[in-house]
């Protein structure tokens, strides 16, 4: 019989984990499994005369300690059967009909093994080995600068994750409130890299003083080990089953009373938000309702961005920042609609000269995204989109450095993309706060090249294929997944490209050239001509990180 492979599901974010493996029980009495790494079922020593031919047995192990896991629940999905492991981690199912079933395992405090291939490689044919990763925890104590515990502080964990090849910090959405000893504990964390943050105080903290007009105090958002900027925070590398301690203290800041008037192009419809800038992030914010454009607010010192929505539902904000360092009684804050960048698309078909196309046509040919290109970690995505279907410009672009992502549809390929004098295919777009940048001008041609190919692997497994062109500042990367082993890229500009088939790379920061480099070393290379179609056959890349 042959090995059947199926896509392995991952539920890495679930605490009670599910390791899913598909097992096939044949009427012949032998069973076989296969995963990312194929297991040769022909090696099965199970004979037709085996008395318990319709049985599955196995063991559940802690992947870090190698110890058996007692009282884990193993389920056979298709059969609605479940059992619990014994003290040696062992489980057995008997009287199974010759059916294909999925095996899942649950245990509080454990996640499924990240790489199923390992599980399967170690599996003896008569004995399933299911490994589970123990969850970790981060605990600590939040104190004042004089070491007194602070009760009722919300503590959060931000996990490093990869989204579209870029590093992002994702709120785990598990909050812990410090108790009367200032202690917090965030449990159920998968092995990963984390930042620990305290939320800004919700209520002003009282400042010891018998003076009736004492200044109120607040805590801004802070990160372990006691800083307000993420770039200065210490990441915590949490291993499976580890419990890491992260004590830190908060610094209370005095607030200042600020009153004044907002000057806006239109009437403001809702509240106004003051956001204090801390590196790439905001460490303190406060909402206030403006009456007839006038506001009164209490804030700690710092540089603020002020933002509001007009009655036309347009976002208005300060173009630079607004600095508070003392009580201010009559300030004027100018809110404007901010920086927007027009996009002009020109096309040329059949070698004719370039013609500008209208916005809705342009949106069906190309999409434009700006990604903040700072290397400093940030909790929020500095992104801007050219969102259609009729938009003429990219609205609300904050000052900063951006990587410009351009994706074409159909046979259209990018001939050039420029903004002012900057070639956006080879360099980043820099937006200066308060400036008026020129339009992004994109030239498209309909002579794109196509790559079609096949990945040498059993066709039931879907593989991710990366098409990479190395450019000056950063790589051009396109991704597709195979369907029945086949893949296709189109709308490519003529030139040299590399191709990588890998399921591992999709979980890595592949937009970072350093990460991609080790894969490029073993990649397949092709040169594409206009309107040509290249045919390739790829092997799954085995390059490890």
């Amino acid at each position: 019989m042959r090995a059947v492979n199926s896509e392995l599901r991952r539920f890495r974010s679930r605490l009670t984990s599910m390791a899913v493996i598909l097992v096939s029980i044949s009427s012949m009495g032998a069973w076989a499994i296969a995963g990312a790494q194929e297991v040769d079922a022909a090696q099965s020593k199970v004979s037709k005369t085996e008395p318990e031919r319709d049985a599955i047995t196995g063991t559940v192990l802690n992947s870090v300690t190698g110890e058996p896991i007692n009282r884990a629940v193993v389920q056979l999905g298709g059969l609605n059967r479940a059992t619990m492991t014994d003290a040696s981690g062992h489980f057995e199912f008997h009287n199974l009909q010759g059916l294909r079933v999925s095996v899942t395992v649950d245990k509080p405090g454990f996640f499924d093994e990240r790489d199923q291939a390992e599980v399967l490689a170690d599996t003896a044919v008569s004995e399933l080995l299911l490994r589970m990763v123990p969850a970790g925890a981060i605990r600590g104590k939040i104190t004042t600068q004089v070491g007194e515990p602070i009760e009722g502080v919300r503590v959060k964990a931000f996990q490093r994750q990869i989204s579209a090849g870029r590093q992002v910090w994702v709120d785990r959405m598990v909050q812990s409130l410090t108790d009367e000893n200032g202690a917090f504990r965030i449990a159920g964390l998968p092995p990963s890299i984390y930042f620990i943050a305290t939320e800004q105080s919700r209520e002003p903290i009282w400042m010891p003083s018998a003076v009736p007009s004492a200044r109120r105090q607040v805590y801004a958002q802070s990160f372990y080990p006691g800083v307000t900027q993420l770039s200065m925070a210490s990441p915590i590398n949490l291993g499976g089953g580890q419990e890491v301690e992260a004590d830190f203290s908060l610094t209370a800041e005095m607030t200042y009373k600020v009153a004044g008037a907002l000057s806006t192009p239109d009437e403001i419809s809702s509240g106004v938000v003051f956001e204090r800038l801390a590196g790439q992030d905001i460490d303190f914010f406060e909402n206030v309702v403006a009456h007839d454009g006038r506001f009164e607010i209490e804030l700690p010192a710092g540089s603020y961005a002020v933002e509001a929505y007009t009655s036309q539902n347009a976002r208005v904000s300060t173009s630079g920042s607004f600095v508070i360092s003392s009580d201010m009684s009559d300030v004027g804050i100018l809110l404007s609609s901010g920086i927007s960048i027009p996009v002009i698309v020109r096309t040329s078909s059949d070698g004719n000269s370039l013609q500008e196309v209208d916005d809705s046509t342009a949106h069906s040919m190309v999409e434009v995204k700006l990604h903040g290109a700072s290397n400093a970690p940030s909790l929020h995505n500095h992104e801007a989109w050219w969102a259609g279907p009729h938009a003429h410009e990219i609205p609300y672009v904050e000052g900063g450095r951006y990587e410009v992502e351009l994706n074409t549809f159909g046979q259209w390929r990018i001939e050039s993309a420029k903004c002012g004098g900057v070639d956006l295919l080879n360099g980043d777009l820099v937006v200066t706060p308060g400036s008026t940048p020129g339009a992004i001008e994109i030239a498209l041609r309909d002579d794109g090249a196509t790559v079609i190919g096949r990945v040498a692997r059993d066709p039931w497994s879907s593989t991710t294929v990366f098409l990479v062109q190395q450019r000056r500042d950063r790589n051009f990367v396109k991704i597709v997944r195979t369907t029945l082993g086949n893949f296709r890229f189109s709308g490519l500009a003529p030139g040299e490209y590399s191709l990588i088939a890998s399921d591992e790379l999709i979980n890595l920061e592949y937009m970072n050239p350093e990460v991609l480099d080790s894969y490029l070393a073993t990649a397949d290379h092709i040169t594409l001509q206009s309107r040509a179609t290249a045919n390739v056959r790829l092997n799954v890349s085995r390059t490890s990180r």
Partner: protein, 538 residues
């Protein structure tokens, strides 16, 4: 000075006292020191705050005590001030606080307010680990904390806090005052939901039954690990103590309850729920699963025990049905066998109209079981308890309107009205009429001991026929100058008592009060009058 009404759900702030109208210089002082009530040691860096009794939620001044625990707040206008203090390890407390009462500090000419010794009670805590009989931690169990004391007039057990066990099975209740507590745990084995989902499945094969040992439930368990509340251990928590109360849950086979004819008339689906009483507080038992098959509802994963089954129609005019069931095995039950529950509704009326606060509510309180049911009082004075499970018994009726208790003559159809209570015996609908009295009276008094004003005494106004008139009892605590105020007094005959150092007294029990009545003063209260009464304490 009283902080709030007897109501146990909403903390209502009552304006107490009135500023002395005479114009005086703002040069009075509140001075004293903060000491630990346990060790007597001065407490440094303690946050002390004051405010006027007219504004209980507004802090006027705040400071930290010095190294000797002392504080001094000068430049105060004559009047009465509340005094509060807190520190790490000491929850926020008012001066001489007893439940909802405190002694306000009276400041003014001839009043002594500069030698205050504020005894701050340290926090106690109860924490522990929830494990099952396999010695495995039980995460996500609901842990309920109950307290038993006489603060509501009788010794009663009522819920004071709730938390969840963490991933290691640990729970923690902090900032507790000393007293008698019970810890109750309600949870489900983590694998229980897997078992019930398997059992729900049409492909479930009980013969193969690998999963039989998964289909387990934890009965509601009382510290240290018993299912009968009478066998549970109370925790005598001392001031500042950290009590460890580990609880062991023993899984028992989960039960299935099948309710036939659950839906009643076609097109009028009914909702079927199981509830459980723990010390008079209704809780939802650990997660159960409902599976409707035609006109049958199945509830799975139920631990054995005593429950109340409620059958409620989506049609609001339909009656609620309910019955008490003792589950020890898988059972079938016909929804129509549940008895109709008494529906209690009524109206509050007053000649000359009534201004109903948006937060106004009516409470039915069974002093024997500590069950308290609340319902809103609408703007036109109507109320209805039709969606609550009301077992037959005697209930006191409280009408809380804004900052005052509305009282008056109660009459009932379908139940017997006795004083401020009703006795519900059957399942017939009950209609109440509460004629809110006009002209409630006020007593301003002074508590004295051997002729000298005394602070911190419990003042109790006891009505005639006390047993059925709990809602018209009035209480206060004497302030630093011995003064007290009793408001919203229904005209009638009363005794007024002043009792020192007996804040744990069952003040609504006539037998208990008789033992303290030697120096009681008889008063007859007439409508809309203000009385000045001096009470000798004992």
């Amino acid at each position: 000075m009283r902080l709030s009404l007897v109501a146990n759900i909403v903390l209502l702030l009552v304006l107490m006292g009135r500023l002395n109208a005479q114009v005086a210089k703002d040069n009075f002082i509140i001075r004293g020191n903060i000491v630990s009530a346990v060790t007597g040691q001065p407490l440094e860096r303690t946050d002390v705050s004051i405010g006027t009794v007219e504004h209980l939620d507004k802090t006027l001044r705040e400071l930290l005590t010095g190294p000797d625990g002392s504080f001094s707040l000068a430049g105060l206008a004559p009047g009465k001030y509340w005094l509060a203090a807190q520190k790490n390890g000491f929850r926020k407390q008012l001066y001489e606080q007893h439940g909802i009462f405190t002694s306000a500090i009276a400041v003014g000419p001839g009043l002594i307010s500069d030698h205050i010794s504020f005894r701050l009670h340290p926090d106690a805590a109860i924490s522990g680990k929830i494990t099952d009989s396999e010695n495995e931690a039980v995460p996500n169990a609901t842990v309920l904390l109950f307290r038993r004391d006489a603060s509501r007039g009788f010794v009663l057990t009522f819920q004071t806090a709730q938390t969840m066990s963490d991933d290691r099975g640990y729970y923690h209740f902090g900032h507790l005052e000393s007293g008698r507590y019970f810890v109750v745990v309600s949870g489900q084995p983590w694998y229980g939901s897997i078992a019930t989902s398997l059992r729900e499945s049409s492909e479930y094969d009980p013969v193969a039954a690998d999963s039989a040992d998964l289909d387990m439930a934890y009965p509601t368990t009382y510290y240290p690990g018993v299912t009968n509340p009478a066998s549970g251990s109370s925790i005598m928590l001392h001031e500042g103590a950290d009590f460890i109360a580990d609880v062991i849950l023993t899984p028992t086979p989960a039960l299935r309850l099948r309710i036939n004819h659950a839906n009643g008339a076609p097109g009028q689906p009914r909702e079927v729920t199981l509830k459980q009483y723990v010390f008079g507080t209704m809780i939802d038992p650990p997660t159960t699963r409902h599976e409707s098959r035609g006109d049958t509802v199945e509830i799975l994963g139920i631990p054995s025990g005593k429950y109340i089954l409620e059958v409620e129609s989506s049609v609001s005019t339909d009656k609620v049905h309910g019955r008490v069931i003792e589950l020890t095995a898988d059972s079938d039950i016909d929804a129509n066998s549940a008895a109709t529950l008494p529906m209690v509704s009524g109206a509050v009326q007053r000649d000359g109209g009534l201004t109903i606060d948006p937060q106004a509510f009516v409470q039915l309180w069974n002093s024997r079981t500590a069950e308290a049911l609340n319902t809103v009082l609408t703007a036109n004075g109507e109320f209805s308890f039709d969606d609550e499970f009301l077992v037959p018994g005697t209930y006191s009726i409280f009408v809380v309107n804004g900052e005052s208790l509305l009282v008056g003559a109660i009459s009932a159809i379908g139940a017997q009205a006795i004083g401020q209570s009703i006795q519900i015996t059957g399942s017939t609908p009950v209609r109440l009429t509460i004629r809110a009295a006009l002209g409630l009276a006020v007593i301003n008094g002074i508590a004295r001991h051997n002729g000298k004003p005394i602070a911190g005494a419990m003042i109790i106004l006891v009505p005639e026929n006390a047993k059925s008139n709990v809602p018209i009892f009035r209480r206060d605590q004497s302030d630093s100058d011995g003064s007290f105020t009793l408001r919203d007094i229904l005209p009638g005959k009363y005794k007024i008592l002043g009792i020192e150092n007996h804040w744990d007294l069952e003040w609504a029990d006539p037998a208990v009060l008789n033992a303290h009545s030697d120096k009681a003063v008889d008063v007859e209260i007439r409508p809309s009058m203000k009385y000045e009464i001096t009470v000798e304490t004992q």
